[in-house]
Amino acid sequence: MSRSKHSLPLFAAALVFAAPLAAQNPPDLSDPEVAHVAVTANSIDIDAAKFAQTRTHNTAVKQFAATMITDHTAVNQQAAALATKLGVTPADNAVSQSLQADAKKAHTALESLHGAAFDRAYMDREIAYHQAVLDAIDKVLIPTTDNAELKQLLTNVRPAVAAHLDHAKQVRSQLGAAARTGK
């Protein structure tokens, strides 16, 4: 069995961080912690996209990755500006650490792949990641945020994450009939 078939279920399992967190007992994150999670989530996707740009030869995947870099950078700039305005210093926390640990595993798995196998695995990962982030926004981040402006920023970002998810699915469907790895 190829390595990708092992690694992708791992992503999927790791990436559903939002589900257990949100299920019965969503973590009561402070606003500085919510800000840190938001910045971390954006940075992870920027790094993944930068890596994808060095690895893929597929035009649609390249364009998707370029959009991820542009959009998540724009969101992080807004988040940084808001944090400065509010005098909030983003605070590291368990959710951010879990995201970073997941990202590291995902990166390790993607590093071993090339060509069409890489494209499929990267897009599968982006689908799972954006779905997990969307769930986290809805079930953890927005409900636990106290500050109205931070809540509004998260609300404004949500449609972009949803559009990225649809975009990722669209690109993935163009990558051919090969079975989705890890599904």
Binding site: A74, V75, A160, H167
Partner: protein, 99 residues
Amino acid sequence: MLWLVLLLGLSKPPTAMRTVEIRGMEFHPAVLTVAVGDTVVWVNRDIVPHTATASGRVKAWDTKQLSQGQAGRYVARHKGTLRYSCTFHPTMHGTLIVR
């Protein structure tokens, strides 16, 4: 001759400025009907950059990248139904009907 030019100028119907807001990863309104000569302005209200780019090989217009708060415009010169999208976000579509 001058008289003719003035007459043509006066008889020309007034043109309007019509705005499409880009917010929540959508064009609002998604379908806009304008008259020939009207100017369509796309204003980006989202955090992320967008474009409003006519579909097809020969693009009637392309606002290029619009960051938050920026606007792009197009003067509708020919009748027809023109579809457009955001080049960064292929899930975003709009239609401009010129009558």
